[in-house]
């Protein structure tokens, strides 16, 4: 029972972050903030949902000798989580960097354009 509650909390938390990510994708003004919302929200929510699934698998677990296949499934889910944790931020970074090299203009507050150009020089 407690395992079901924990896993449901994790999955629902993941879905909340998914909602935030998609809202940000629609509502934010320019390319960079949209990528920020999508990348951050997507990584965390996928991780939470997968961890929720992994916890839910423990429901059938009684003893190691009988239920080791359950542990195998959990290891696989954790492997997928590690893979997502590595690749998703990297792909977000690569997309952002491609946008910056392609000179996609960020939306900047009036009077702060020079500030940005000093910190991140274009080539």
């Amino acid at each position: 029972m407690i395992i079901t509650i924990i896993s449901m909390a994790l999955v629902v938390g993941g879905l909340v972050f998914f909602l935030g990510a998609s809202t940000g994708l629609i509502r934010f003004p320019d390319f960079y903030t949209r990528m920020h919302a999508a990348g951050k929200g997507d990584t965390l929510s996928s991780l939470l949902v997968l961890l929720g699934f992994a916890v839910y698998q423990l429901k059938d677990f009684q003893s190691f000798s009988e239920n080791w296949l359950v542990l195998l499934v959990i290891v696989k889910l954790l492997g997928i989580s590690a893979f997502i944790l590595l690749t998703s931020p990297t792909s977000t970074h690569a997309l952002m960097d491609a946008g910056w090299e392609d000179e996609v203009e960020p939306e900047i507050q009036k009077g702060r354009e020079n500030h940005l150009n000093d910190d991140y020089p274009k080539f």
């Binding site: 893979f83 590595l86 690749t87 990297t90 970074h93 690569a94 960097d97 910056w100 090299e101 991140y120 020089p121 274009k122 080539f123």
Partner: protein, 263 residues
Amino acid sequence: MLTKVFATIAVVITGGLLLYGVSDFPAFGDPHSPANAGVGNEESISQYFITQTYKDTKVPNIVTAVLADYRGYDTMFETVVIFAAGIAIFAILRVTGNEAEKKSIKPPLDSSINGDHQRIIVGTTCRIVIPVVQMFALYVVAHGHHSPGGGFQGGVILGASFILVAMSEDLNAALRRFSEKTYLTLACVGILIYAGFGLMCQFLERNFLDYGILQKVLFTDGPEMARSHSMLGVEVGVAFTVTAIMFAIYANLSSRGVLKNGL
């Protein structure tokens, strides 16, 4: 504009006819349809595969058994089709000599701060991820007759890992690891492995790709295990060809056939 109208009419008529044909189909998963229950007292082919595959071949994954054993001839020529696609791309796009000088893409300006950031982060992640992807691809190939997967899927994933090398560094780095000579050889070797298994059966006085007789060569307990091991060998051949052709297509497409300074 007129062509679009005609195209729409053609699509609507064809789609309507297809939908009309679908209405005669049995329901999805219907146990009493002729394909599942057989006609009259005769056993249907899907019943045969479900009940007899494990007894015949000792392979739990029926899909792989059907693809690589019962319909092995079909799969062999699917592999040949992929090989032919790779050769066609090679024949159309590959250029050498003076023409290559004209068509080659100039290397992008590098050694800027942004470029270095890109190279460090993406390069490090790819260095961690690519071995894992390749291990997974080998697992998919080698475990194809016990779980979903097989030569095609594993080959595509293995080819994609080399494409990832080409995308994270550049095409030259990928070609240093997997040169043109290597991948063309590997593509031919894959087909030859598959055809070799078939021919070996013929030398032992059976039909082409009738693996059961290979127990004399593979020293297995019986024809069932011989069929299982032959399926593995055949999948490895398919994986060789598919890996090589996937990378060949990417290398030729991304560098306009020059194989230098590509995407």
